[in-house]
Amino acid sequence: MILWSSNRLSPSRTDMLLRRSLGLLTCLAASVVVFVIGFVLVESLPAFSEIELSRIISDDTWHPADPDNATFGLIPMLVGSFLVTFCALLWAAPLGISIAIANEFYPSRFMSPIVRRTTEIMAGIPSIVFGFWGLTTLVPLIANIQAPGQSLLAGSIVLGMMILPTIVLTTEQALHSLPNELAIAAAATGVGRFAFLWHVALPTCRGGILSGVVLGLARAIGETMAVLMVSGNIVQIPGSLFDPFRTITTNIALEMGYATQTHRTLLFLTAAILIAMVVPLMAVMQSLNTEQSHG
Protein backbone atom coordinates (compact mmCIF):
# COMPACT_ATOMS: atom_id res chain seq x y z
CA MET A 1 0.00 0.00 0.00
CA ILE A 2 1.33 3.34 -0.97
CA LEU A 3 0.86 6.24 1.34
CA TRP A 4 2.08 9.78 1.22
CA SER A 5 4.71 10.02 3.80
CA SER A 6 3.89 13.03 5.83
CA ASN A 7 7.13 14.84 6.36
CA ARG A 8 9.36 14.33 3.38
CA LEU A 9 7.39 14.71 0.24
CA SER A 10 6.04 18.18 0.37
CA PRO A 11 8.13 21.04 -0.74
CA SER A 12 5.18 22.70 -2.39
CA ARG A 13 3.17 25.23 -0.46
CA THR A 14 -0.13 24.16 -1.94
CA ASP A 15 0.45 20.63 -0.73
CA MET A 16 1.19 21.96 2.73
CA LEU A 17 -1.92 24.09 2.65
CA LEU A 18 -4.09 21.24 1.42
CA ARG A 19 -2.81 18.92 4.09
CA ARG A 20 -3.37 21.48 6.80
CA SER A 21 -6.89 22.33 5.70
CA LEU A 22 -7.90 18.72 5.23
CA GLY A 23 -6.44 18.00 8.64
CA LEU A 24 -8.56 20.78 10.06
CA LEU A 25 -11.68 19.38 8.39
CA THR A 26 -10.86 15.99 9.84
CA CYS A 27 -10.52 17.44 13.32
CA LEU A 28 -13.87 19.12 12.84
CA ALA A 29 -15.54 15.91 11.68
CA ALA A 30 -13.98 13.86 14.43
CA SER A 31 -15.02 16.35 17.06
CA VAL A 32 -18.71 16.29 16.13
CA VAL A 33 -19.13 13.19 18.22
CA VAL A 34 -17.23 14.80 21.08
CA PHE A 35 -19.58 17.74 20.89
CA VAL A 36 -22.75 15.69 20.77
CA ILE A 37 -21.78 13.36 23.60
CA GLY A 38 -20.00 16.03 25.59
CA PHE A 39 -22.97 18.30 25.30
CA VAL A 40 -25.40 15.63 26.44
CA LEU A 41 -23.15 14.79 29.39
CA VAL A 42 -22.64 18.40 30.43
CA GLU A 43 -26.35 19.09 30.29
CA SER A 44 -27.12 16.00 32.33
CA LEU A 45 -24.50 16.65 35.02
CA PRO A 46 -26.71 18.90 37.18
CA ALA A 47 -28.92 15.85 37.74
CA PHE A 48 -26.35 14.63 40.24
CA SER A 49 -26.85 17.62 42.47
CA GLU A 50 -30.51 18.36 41.80
CA ILE A 51 -31.96 15.05 42.88
CA GLU A 52 -30.82 11.95 44.58
CA LEU A 53 -29.80 9.93 41.60
CA SER A 54 -30.92 6.68 43.12
CA ARG A 55 -34.46 7.93 42.63
CA ILE A 56 -34.32 7.06 38.94
CA ILE A 57 -34.25 3.48 40.12
CA SER A 58 -36.24 3.64 43.33
CA ASP A 59 -39.16 5.82 42.14
CA ASP A 60 -41.64 3.66 40.37
CA THR A 61 -43.34 6.35 38.29
CA TRP A 62 -42.26 9.23 36.09
CA HIS A 63 -43.84 12.58 36.92
CA PRO A 64 -40.85 14.86 36.79
CA ALA A 65 -42.87 18.04 36.26
CA ASP A 66 -45.33 17.54 39.09
CA PRO A 67 -44.83 20.59 41.32
CA ASP A 68 -45.81 18.93 44.62
CA ASN A 69 -44.81 15.35 44.28
CA ALA A 70 -42.32 14.86 41.47
CA THR A 71 -41.12 11.34 40.77
CA PHE A 72 -38.26 10.36 38.52
CA GLY A 73 -38.46 6.62 37.96
CA LEU A 74 -36.78 5.65 34.68
CA ILE A 75 -37.09 1.91 35.24
CA PRO A 76 -40.43 1.47 33.44
CA MET A 77 -39.00 3.14 30.34
CA LEU A 78 -35.79 1.14 30.47
CA VAL A 79 -37.79 -2.05 30.83
CA GLY A 80 -40.03 -0.92 27.97
CA SER A 81 -37.04 -0.33 25.70
CA PHE A 82 -35.54 -3.64 26.64
CA LEU A 83 -38.76 -5.64 26.26
CA VAL A 84 -39.78 -4.23 22.91
CA THR A 85 -36.30 -4.74 21.50
CA PHE A 86 -36.16 -8.25 22.87
CA CYS A 87 -39.56 -9.20 21.47
CA ALA A 88 -38.68 -7.70 18.10
CA LEU A 89 -35.45 -9.67 17.95
CA LEU A 90 -37.20 -12.78 19.12
CA TRP A 91 -39.00 -13.13 15.84
CA ALA A 92 -36.98 -10.98 13.46
CA ALA A 93 -33.61 -12.64 14.12
CA PRO A 94 -34.65 -16.24 13.33
CA LEU A 95 -36.74 -15.09 10.40
CA GLY A 96 -33.95 -12.91 9.01
CA ILE A 97 -31.40 -15.68 9.34
CA SER A 98 -33.66 -18.20 7.61
CA ILE A 99 -34.31 -15.78 4.76
CA ALA A 100 -30.58 -15.34 4.31
CA ILE A 101 -30.18 -19.13 4.35
CA ALA A 102 -32.90 -19.43 1.73
CA ASN A 103 -31.11 -16.91 -0.47
CA GLU A 104 -27.73 -18.54 -0.14
CA PHE A 105 -28.47 -22.26 0.15
CA TYR A 106 -31.95 -22.83 -1.20
CA PRO A 107 -32.13 -20.34 -4.03
CA SER A 108 -35.06 -20.41 -6.37
CA ARG A 109 -34.95 -18.77 -9.74
CA PHE A 110 -38.33 -17.20 -9.22
CA MET A 111 -38.24 -16.21 -5.54
CA SER A 112 -34.66 -15.22 -4.84
CA PRO A 113 -34.49 -12.09 -7.03
CA ILE A 114 -37.82 -10.94 -5.65
CA VAL A 115 -36.69 -11.52 -2.07
CA ARG A 116 -33.39 -9.71 -2.66
CA ARG A 117 -35.10 -6.71 -4.21
CA THR A 118 -37.69 -6.65 -1.44
CA THR A 119 -35.01 -6.72 1.23
CA GLU A 120 -33.18 -3.82 -0.35
CA ILE A 121 -36.33 -1.76 -0.69
CA MET A 122 -37.45 -2.59 2.82
CA ALA A 123 -34.09 -1.50 4.18
CA GLY A 124 -34.74 1.90 2.66
CA ILE A 125 -38.27 2.40 3.94
CA PRO A 126 -38.31 5.25 6.46
CA SER A 127 -39.29 4.29 9.98
CA ILE A 128 -42.16 6.76 9.86
CA VAL A 129 -43.81 4.65 7.15
CA PHE A 130 -43.64 1.56 9.35
CA GLY A 131 -45.02 3.58 12.23
CA PHE A 132 -47.81 4.91 10.07
CA TRP A 133 -48.74 1.42 8.93
CA GLY A 134 -48.59 0.22 12.52
CA LEU A 135 -50.85 2.99 13.75
CA THR A 136 -53.47 2.78 11.01
CA THR A 137 -53.54 -0.96 10.28
CA LEU A 138 -51.87 -2.99 12.99
CA VAL A 139 -53.12 -1.17 16.09
CA PRO A 140 -56.83 -1.43 15.15
CA LEU A 141 -56.28 -5.12 14.38
CA ILE A 142 -54.76 -5.75 17.79
CA ALA A 143 -57.43 -3.59 19.41
CA ASN A 144 -59.97 -6.08 18.06
CA ILE A 145 -58.30 -8.80 20.09
CA GLN A 146 -57.63 -6.72 23.15
CA ALA A 147 -57.89 -3.00 23.73
CA PRO A 148 -56.26 -0.54 23.39
CA GLY A 149 -54.17 -1.91 20.51
CA GLN A 150 -51.20 0.34 21.18
CA SER A 151 -49.11 -2.30 22.84
CA LEU A 152 -45.87 -4.17 23.28
CA LEU A 153 -47.07 -6.52 20.55
CA ALA A 154 -47.60 -3.69 18.05
CA GLY A 155 -44.25 -2.15 18.96
CA SER A 156 -42.32 -5.37 18.55
CA ILE A 157 -43.97 -6.24 15.24
CA VAL A 158 -43.20 -2.82 13.78
CA LEU A 159 -39.66 -2.76 15.16
CA GLY A 160 -39.00 -6.31 14.01
CA MET A 161 -40.03 -5.44 10.48
CA MET A 162 -37.68 -2.50 10.52
CA ILE A 163 -34.63 -4.48 11.59
CA LEU A 164 -35.43 -7.54 9.48
CA PRO A 165 -33.63 -6.31 6.32
CA THR A 166 -30.52 -5.43 8.35
CA ILE A 167 -30.34 -8.94 9.72
CA VAL A 168 -31.00 -10.54 6.34
CA LEU A 169 -28.38 -8.47 4.54
CA THR A 170 -25.65 -8.94 7.16
CA THR A 171 -26.27 -12.67 7.52
CA GLU A 172 -26.32 -13.14 3.78
CA GLN A 173 -23.05 -11.30 3.46
CA ALA A 174 -21.51 -13.51 6.13
CA LEU A 175 -22.75 -16.70 4.48
CA HIS A 176 -21.66 -15.46 1.09
CA SER A 177 -18.13 -14.89 2.29
CA LEU A 178 -17.68 -18.62 2.90
CA PRO A 179 -15.07 -19.90 0.47
CA ASN A 180 -16.61 -21.84 -2.36
CA GLU A 181 -14.03 -24.59 -1.96
CA LEU A 182 -15.55 -25.44 1.39
CA ALA A 183 -18.90 -26.31 -0.18
CA ILE A 184 -17.21 -28.23 -2.99
CA ALA A 185 -15.06 -30.16 -0.54
CA ALA A 186 -18.13 -30.96 1.52
CA ALA A 187 -20.05 -32.15 -1.52
CA ALA A 188 -17.08 -34.24 -2.60
CA THR A 189 -17.06 -36.07 0.72
CA GLY A 190 -20.76 -36.71 0.47
CA VAL A 191 -21.92 -34.22 3.09
CA GLY A 192 -25.51 -33.17 2.35
CA ARG A 193 -26.65 -29.59 2.01
CA PHE A 194 -28.35 -29.42 5.36
CA ALA A 195 -25.46 -31.10 7.16
CA PHE A 196 -23.05 -28.65 5.56
CA LEU A 197 -25.26 -25.74 6.54
CA TRP A 198 -25.72 -26.91 10.10
CA HIS A 199 -22.24 -28.20 10.90
CA VAL A 200 -20.03 -25.99 8.74
CA ALA A 201 -21.64 -22.85 7.35
CA LEU A 202 -23.56 -21.58 10.39
CA PRO A 203 -20.80 -22.21 12.96
CA THR A 204 -18.19 -20.65 10.69
CA CYS A 205 -20.31 -17.54 10.10
CA ARG A 206 -21.36 -17.20 13.74
CA GLY A 207 -19.55 -13.89 14.11
CA GLY A 208 -21.05 -12.30 11.03
CA ILE A 209 -24.56 -13.45 11.86
CA LEU A 210 -24.27 -12.23 15.44
CA SER A 211 -23.01 -8.86 14.33
CA GLY A 212 -26.10 -8.54 12.12
CA VAL A 213 -28.30 -9.29 15.10
CA VAL A 214 -26.41 -6.79 17.25
CA LEU A 215 -26.74 -4.18 14.51
CA GLY A 216 -30.49 -4.79 14.50
CA LEU A 217 -30.53 -4.59 18.29
CA ALA A 218 -28.76 -1.22 18.27
CA ARG A 219 -31.14 0.14 15.68
CA ALA A 220 -34.17 -1.12 17.61
CA ILE A 221 -33.06 0.48 20.86
CA GLY A 222 -32.47 3.81 19.15
CA GLU A 223 -35.68 3.86 17.15
CA THR A 224 -38.11 6.56 18.19
CA MET A 225 -40.90 7.67 15.90
CA ALA A 226 -42.25 4.30 14.80
CA VAL A 227 -42.40 3.11 18.40
CA LEU A 228 -43.92 6.35 19.58
CA MET A 229 -46.81 5.89 17.16
CA VAL A 230 -47.77 2.38 18.25
CA SER A 231 -46.75 2.06 21.90
CA GLY A 232 -49.43 4.11 23.67
CA ASN A 233 -46.68 5.84 25.64
CA ILE A 234 -47.98 4.92 29.09
CA VAL A 235 -45.22 4.90 31.68
CA GLN A 236 -45.58 1.42 33.09
CA ILE A 237 -43.92 -1.94 33.03
CA PRO A 238 -46.08 -3.83 30.54
CA GLY A 239 -47.62 -6.90 32.12
CA SER A 240 -48.53 -8.57 28.86
CA LEU A 241 -47.99 -8.30 25.13
CA PHE A 242 -51.19 -6.27 24.91
CA ASP A 243 -50.19 -3.58 27.40
CA PRO A 244 -49.04 -0.13 26.31
CA PHE A 245 -45.58 1.03 27.36
CA ARG A 246 -43.04 3.78 26.87
CA THR A 247 -39.38 3.54 25.82
CA ILE A 248 -36.58 5.89 26.77
CA THR A 249 -36.34 7.22 23.24
CA THR A 250 -40.02 8.07 22.97
CA ASN A 251 -39.85 9.63 26.42
CA ILE A 252 -37.31 12.11 25.11
CA ALA A 253 -39.33 12.79 21.99
CA LEU A 254 -42.55 13.33 23.92
CA GLU A 255 -41.18 15.63 26.55
CA MET A 256 -38.18 17.49 25.21
CA GLY A 257 -40.35 20.20 23.70
CA TYR A 258 -41.34 21.70 27.01
CA ALA A 259 -39.17 20.21 29.74
CA THR A 260 -37.47 22.70 32.04
CA GLN A 261 -35.10 22.56 35.01
CA THR A 262 -34.71 19.16 36.64
CA HIS A 263 -37.05 17.57 34.14
CA ARG A 264 -34.93 18.79 31.25
CA THR A 265 -31.73 17.70 32.96
CA LEU A 266 -33.20 14.26 33.43
CA LEU A 267 -34.08 14.00 29.75
CA PHE A 268 -30.45 14.67 28.96
CA LEU A 269 -29.51 12.04 31.49
CA THR A 270 -31.86 9.68 29.65
CA ALA A 271 -30.08 10.51 26.40
CA ALA A 272 -26.75 9.83 28.10
CA ILE A 273 -28.06 6.45 29.28
CA LEU A 274 -29.23 5.74 25.74
CA ILE A 275 -25.77 6.48 24.37
CA ALA A 276 -24.23 4.37 27.11
CA MET A 277 -26.46 1.48 26.04
CA VAL A 278 -25.49 1.72 22.39
CA VAL A 279 -21.72 2.12 22.78
CA PRO A 280 -21.07 -1.34 24.31
CA LEU A 281 -23.21 -2.85 21.56
CA MET A 282 -20.97 -1.22 19.04
CA ALA A 283 -17.88 -2.53 20.79
CA VAL A 284 -19.36 -6.02 20.74
CA MET A 285 -20.09 -5.71 17.05
CA GLN A 286 -16.57 -4.53 16.26
CA SER A 287 -15.05 -7.43 18.13
CA LEU A 288 -17.38 -9.80 16.27
CA ASN A 289 -16.31 -8.29 12.98
CA THR A 290 -12.62 -8.66 13.76
CA GLU A 291 -13.20 -12.22 14.85
CA GLN A 292 -14.95 -12.85 11.58
CA SER A 293 -12.27 -11.31 9.42
CA HIS A 294 -9.57 -13.28 11.22
CA GLY A 295 -11.30 -16.62 11.15
Binding site: C27, S31, L254
Partner: protein, 279 residues
Protein backbone atom coordinates in the same frame (compact mmCIF):
# COMPACT_ATOMS: atom_id res chain seq x y z
CA UNK B 1 2.92 15.42 15.27
CA UNK B 2 0.49 14.69 18.02
CA UNK B 3 1.22 18.08 19.51
CA UNK B 4 0.27 19.69 16.23
CA UNK B 5 -2.98 17.79 16.20
CA UNK B 6 -3.76 18.89 19.72
CA UNK B 7 -2.97 22.42 18.71
CA UNK B 8 -5.23 22.19 15.68
CA UNK B 9 -7.97 20.82 17.81
CA UNK B 10 -7.83 23.64 20.31
CA UNK B 11 -7.70 26.14 17.47
CA UNK B 12 -10.79 24.56 16.09
CA UNK B 13 -12.55 24.80 19.42
CA UNK B 14 -11.72 28.48 19.53
CA UNK B 15 -13.07 28.86 16.04
CA UNK B 16 -16.31 27.22 17.01
CA UNK B 17 -16.71 29.44 20.05
CA UNK B 18 -16.08 32.38 17.81
CA UNK B 19 -18.72 31.15 15.42
CA UNK B 20 -21.26 30.62 18.14
CA UNK B 21 -20.55 34.13 19.36
CA UNK B 22 -21.26 35.42 15.88
CA UNK B 23 -24.40 33.36 15.77
CA UNK B 24 -25.74 35.04 18.86
CA UNK B 25 -24.89 38.56 17.79
CA UNK B 26 -26.23 37.88 14.32
CA UNK B 27 -29.50 36.69 15.64
CA UNK B 28 -30.31 40.08 17.03
CA UNK B 29 -30.29 41.36 13.49
CA UNK B 30 -31.93 38.26 12.16
CA UNK B 31 -35.15 38.65 14.10
CA UNK B 32 -36.41 41.38 11.88
CA UNK B 33 -39.66 42.86 13.15
CA UNK B 34 -41.52 41.46 10.18
CA UNK B 35 -41.55 37.89 11.48
CA UNK B 36 -43.32 36.31 14.42
CA UNK B 37 -43.05 32.75 15.67
CA UNK B 38 -45.81 31.33 17.83
CA UNK B 39 -45.53 27.98 19.54
CA UNK B 40 -47.50 26.19 22.22
CA UNK B 41 -50.98 24.94 22.93
CA UNK B 42 -52.53 22.80 20.23
CA UNK B 43 -55.90 24.23 21.27
CA UNK B 44 -54.88 27.79 20.49
CA UNK B 45 -52.78 26.93 17.43
CA UNK B 46 -55.59 26.57 14.85
CA UNK B 47 -57.21 29.81 16.03
CA UNK B 48 -53.88 31.63 16.08
CA UNK B 49 -53.17 30.37 12.58
CA UNK B 50 -56.49 31.76 11.32
CA UNK B 51 -55.88 35.09 13.02
CA UNK B 52 -52.37 35.12 11.56
CA UNK B 53 -53.68 34.65 8.03
CA UNK B 54 -56.03 37.61 8.42
CA UNK B 55 -53.29 39.69 10.06
CA UNK B 56 -50.88 38.93 7.25
CA UNK B 57 -53.54 39.89 4.75
CA UNK B 58 -53.84 43.30 6.36
CA UNK B 59 -50.09 43.75 6.81
CA UNK B 60 -48.26 42.71 3.68
CA UNK B 61 -44.67 41.59 4.21
CA UNK B 62 -45.39 40.13 7.62
CA UNK B 63 -44.94 36.42 8.17
CA UNK B 64 -46.32 34.58 11.17
CA UNK B 65 -45.50 30.93 11.76
CA UNK B 66 -47.58 28.87 14.18
CA UNK B 67 -46.51 25.53 15.66
CA UNK B 68 -48.23 23.46 18.31
CA UNK B 69 -46.61 21.27 20.97
CA UNK B 70 -48.43 22.06 24.19
CA UNK B 71 -48.79 25.04 26.49
CA UNK B 72 -45.67 24.20 28.47
CA UNK B 73 -43.68 24.12 25.30
CA UNK B 74 -45.03 27.53 24.37
CA UNK B 75 -43.89 28.88 27.70
CA UNK B 76 -40.52 27.13 27.49
CA UNK B 77 -39.96 28.46 23.96
CA UNK B 78 -40.82 32.02 24.96
CA UNK B 79 -38.38 31.75 27.85
CA UNK B 80 -35.61 30.39 25.63
CA UNK B 81 -36.33 32.96 22.94
CA UNK B 82 -37.09 30.40 20.24
CA UNK B 83 -40.64 31.73 19.97
CA UNK B 84 -41.78 35.34 20.06
CA UNK B 85 -45.20 34.55 21.45
CA UNK B 86 -46.23 31.46 23.37
CA UNK B 87 -49.74 30.03 23.25
CA UNK B 88 -51.14 28.68 26.50
CA UNK B 89 -54.59 27.24 27.05
CA UNK B 90 -54.45 27.81 30.79
CA UNK B 91 -53.69 30.63 33.21
CA UNK B 92 -50.05 31.22 34.06
CA UNK B 93 -48.88 29.04 36.92
CA UNK B 94 -47.34 30.42 40.10
CA UNK B 95 -43.80 30.04 38.83
CA UNK B 96 -44.63 31.68 35.53
CA UNK B 97 -45.75 35.02 36.92
CA UNK B 98 -42.71 36.74 35.44
CA UNK B 99 -44.25 36.34 31.98
CA UNK B 100 -47.00 38.42 30.43
CA UNK B 101 -50.23 36.94 29.17
CA UNK B 102 -53.20 38.26 27.25
CA UNK B 103 -56.43 36.32 26.96
CA UNK B 104 -57.86 36.06 23.47
CA UNK B 105 -60.72 33.60 24.08
CA UNK B 106 -62.30 31.16 26.50
CA UNK B 107 -62.62 27.44 25.95
CA UNK B 108 -64.12 24.48 27.77
CA UNK B 109 -62.98 20.91 28.18
CA UNK B 110 -65.38 18.04 27.67
CA UNK B 111 -65.31 14.26 27.46
CA UNK B 112 -65.56 12.71 24.02
CA UNK B 113 -66.44 9.20 22.86
CA UNK B 114 -66.94 7.51 19.51
CA UNK B 115 -70.18 8.22 17.64
CA UNK B 116 -71.18 4.54 18.01
CA UNK B 117 -71.19 4.91 21.76
CA UNK B 118 -74.78 5.34 23.04
CA UNK B 119 -73.65 7.38 26.04
CA UNK B 120 -74.99 10.96 26.25
CA UNK B 121 -73.59 12.31 29.44
CA UNK B 122 -71.26 11.45 32.28
CA UNK B 123 -71.37 12.76 35.80
CA UNK B 124 -68.19 13.93 37.48
CA UNK B 125 -68.15 10.83 39.64
CA UNK B 126 -68.42 8.58 36.60
CA UNK B 127 -65.54 10.32 34.86
CA UNK B 128 -63.43 9.96 37.98
CA UNK B 129 -64.21 6.27 38.28
CA UNK B 130 -63.23 5.67 34.67
CA UNK B 131 -59.91 7.48 35.01
CA UNK B 132 -59.08 5.75 38.28
CA UNK B 133 -59.87 2.43 36.61
CA UNK B 134 -62.62 1.66 39.13
CA UNK B 135 -64.89 1.08 36.16
CA UNK B 136 -63.21 -0.50 33.18
CA UNK B 137 -65.93 -1.89 30.95
CA UNK B 138 -68.54 -0.16 28.82
CA UNK B 139 -71.00 -2.83 30.01
CA UNK B 140 -71.31 -0.86 33.21
CA UNK B 141 -72.74 2.01 31.22
CA UNK B 142 -75.22 -0.23 29.49
CA UNK B 143 -73.23 -0.65 26.29
CA UNK B 144 -71.46 -3.66 24.79
CA UNK B 145 -68.97 -5.79 26.71
CA UNK B 146 -65.74 -4.06 25.84
CA UNK B 147 -62.91 -2.60 27.81
CA UNK B 148 -62.80 1.17 28.08
CA UNK B 149 -59.73 2.59 26.37
CA UNK B 150 -58.76 5.56 28.47
CA UNK B 151 -56.84 8.31 26.69
CA UNK B 152 -54.94 10.69 28.91
CA UNK B 153 -52.89 13.74 28.01
CA UNK B 154 -49.12 13.88 28.25
CA UNK B 155 -47.47 15.82 31.05
CA UNK B 156 -47.10 19.49 30.33
CA UNK B 157 -50.40 19.76 28.50
CA UNK B 158 -52.69 22.51 29.73
CA UNK B 159 -55.77 20.40 29.14
CA UNK B 160 -54.38 17.85 31.59
CA UNK B 161 -53.79 20.48 34.25
CA UNK B 162 -57.32 21.80 33.94
CA UNK B 163 -58.73 18.27 33.94
CA UNK B 164 -56.94 16.99 37.05
CA UNK B 165 -57.56 20.24 38.89
CA UNK B 166 -61.27 20.14 38.20
CA UNK B 167 -61.71 16.51 39.18
CA UNK B 168 -59.28 16.86 42.09
CA UNK B 169 -57.34 13.90 40.82
CA UNK B 170 -53.66 13.19 41.32
CA UNK B 171 -51.91 12.62 38.01
CA UNK B 172 -49.99 9.54 39.20
CA UNK B 173 -53.25 7.87 40.27
CA UNK B 174 -54.73 7.99 36.81
CA UNK B 175 -54.68 4.65 35.02
CA UNK B 176 -54.70 5.31 31.30
CA UNK B 177 -54.26 3.12 28.23
CA UNK B 178 -52.96 5.69 25.80
CA UNK B 179 -51.08 8.93 26.29
CA UNK B 180 -51.89 11.60 23.73
CA UNK B 181 -50.20 14.89 22.95
CA UNK B 182 -52.06 17.40 20.85
CA UNK B 183 -55.84 17.82 21.14
CA UNK B 184 -56.03 16.51 17.62
CA UNK B 185 -54.26 13.34 18.65
CA UNK B 186 -56.87 12.80 21.35
CA UNK B 187 -59.61 13.23 18.78
CA UNK B 188 -57.83 10.93 16.40
CA UNK B 189 -57.47 8.26 19.06
CA UNK B 190 -61.20 8.29 19.71
CA UNK B 191 -62.20 8.34 16.03
CA UNK B 192 -59.90 5.40 15.44
CA UNK B 193 -61.06 3.36 18.42
CA UNK B 194 -64.74 2.73 19.15
CA UNK B 195 -64.13 2.05 22.81
CA UNK B 196 -61.99 5.02 23.64
CA UNK B 197 -62.77 7.99 25.82
CA UNK B 198 -60.80 11.20 26.04
CA UNK B 199 -61.06 14.76 27.27
CA UNK B 200 -60.36 17.56 24.82
CA UNK B 201 -60.99 21.19 24.04
CA UNK B 202 -64.66 21.80 23.21
CA UNK B 203 -63.72 24.14 20.39
CA UNK B 204 -61.37 21.69 18.72
CA UNK B 205 -63.79 18.79 19.14
CA UNK B 206 -66.77 20.69 17.71
CA UNK B 207 -64.65 21.79 14.78
CA UNK B 208 -63.77 18.18 13.98
CA UNK B 209 -67.37 17.01 14.39
CA UNK B 210 -68.48 19.65 11.90
CA UNK B 211 -65.83 18.28 9.56
CA UNK B 212 -67.39 14.83 9.79
CA UNK B 213 -65.28 13.09 12.41
CA UNK B 214 -67.29 10.24 14.05
CA UNK B 215 -67.23 11.75 17.52
CA UNK B 216 -69.63 12.63 20.24
CA UNK B 217 -69.19 15.34 22.88
CA UNK B 218 -70.59 14.21 26.24
CA UNK B 219 -72.68 16.42 28.44
CA UNK B 220 -71.28 17.16 31.84
CA UNK B 221 -74.20 16.04 33.94
CA UNK B 222 -77.05 17.92 32.30
CA UNK B 223 -75.05 20.70 30.76
CA UNK B 224 -74.30 20.52 27.06
CA UNK B 225 -70.78 21.37 25.88
CA UNK B 226 -71.44 24.40 23.69
CA UNK B 227 -69.87 27.84 23.36
CA UNK B 228 -72.92 29.38 24.96
CA UNK B 229 -72.72 27.27 28.13
CA UNK B 230 -69.01 28.02 28.27
CA UNK B 231 -69.69 31.71 27.79
CA UNK B 232 -72.34 31.78 30.46
CA UNK B 233 -70.12 29.91 32.87
CA UNK B 234 -72.65 27.11 33.20
CA UNK B 235 -70.27 24.54 31.77
CA UNK B 236 -67.97 23.49 34.57
CA UNK B 237 -64.55 22.96 33.01
CA UNK B 238 -63.40 26.19 31.36
CA UNK B 239 -60.09 27.88 30.85
CA UNK B 240 -58.62 30.97 29.21
CA UNK B 241 -56.73 30.84 25.92
CA UNK B 242 -53.70 33.08 26.31
CA UNK B 243 -50.91 34.58 24.30
CA UNK B 244 -47.75 34.79 26.40
CA UNK B 245 -44.67 36.97 26.00
CA UNK B 246 -41.45 37.29 27.95
CA UNK B 247 -41.51 41.08 28.09
CA UNK B 248 -44.51 43.37 27.82
CA UNK B 249 -45.30 43.04 24.12
CA UNK B 250 -43.84 45.65 21.78
CA UNK B 251 -43.72 46.24 18.06
CA UNK B 252 -45.17 43.61 15.80
CA UNK B 253 -45.93 41.25 18.70
CA UNK B 254 -47.95 43.97 20.40
CA UNK B 255 -49.74 44.76 17.16
CA UNK B 256 -50.60 41.09 16.65
CA UNK B 257 -51.77 40.49 20.21
CA UNK B 258 -53.97 43.58 20.11
CA UNK B 259 -55.39 42.39 16.82
CA UNK B 260 -56.06 38.94 18.27
CA UNK B 261 -57.94 40.49 21.19
CA UNK B 262 -59.97 42.89 19.06
CA UNK B 263 -63.52 42.47 17.80
CA UNK B 264 -62.11 42.11 14.29
CA UNK B 265 -61.38 38.46 14.92
CA UNK B 266 -64.44 37.49 16.96
CA UNK B 267 -65.93 35.74 13.96
CA UNK B 268 -62.80 33.59 13.72
CA UNK B 269 -62.99 32.77 17.42
CA UNK B 270 -66.61 31.75 17.09
CA UNK B 271 -65.90 29.78 13.96
CA UNK B 272 -63.48 27.66 16.04
CA UNK B 273 -66.25 27.20 18.66
CA UNK B 274 -64.39 29.24 21.23
CA UNK B 275 -65.87 32.08 23.21
CA UNK B 276 -64.61 35.54 22.35
CA UNK B 277 -63.80 38.03 25.11
CA UNK B 278 -66.29 40.86 24.98
CA UNK B 279 -65.89 43.93 27.09
Amino acid sequence: MRKIIALKFSLFLLLLLELSGCGISDSAERIVPQRLILTGSSTVAPLAAEIAVRFEGQNPGVRIDVQSGGSSRGIADVRSGVADIGMASRPLADDEQDLFSDQIATDGICMIVHLDNPLISLSDEQVKSIYLNEVSNWKEFGWEDAEIVVAHKADGRATLDVFVKYFKLKNPDIKADVIVGDNQQGLKTVTGNRHAIAYVSIGTARYEVENGAPLKLLHSGKIAPTPSTVASGAFPMTRPLNLVTKEPPTGLAKQFIEFAMSAEVHDLVEQQSFVPIKN
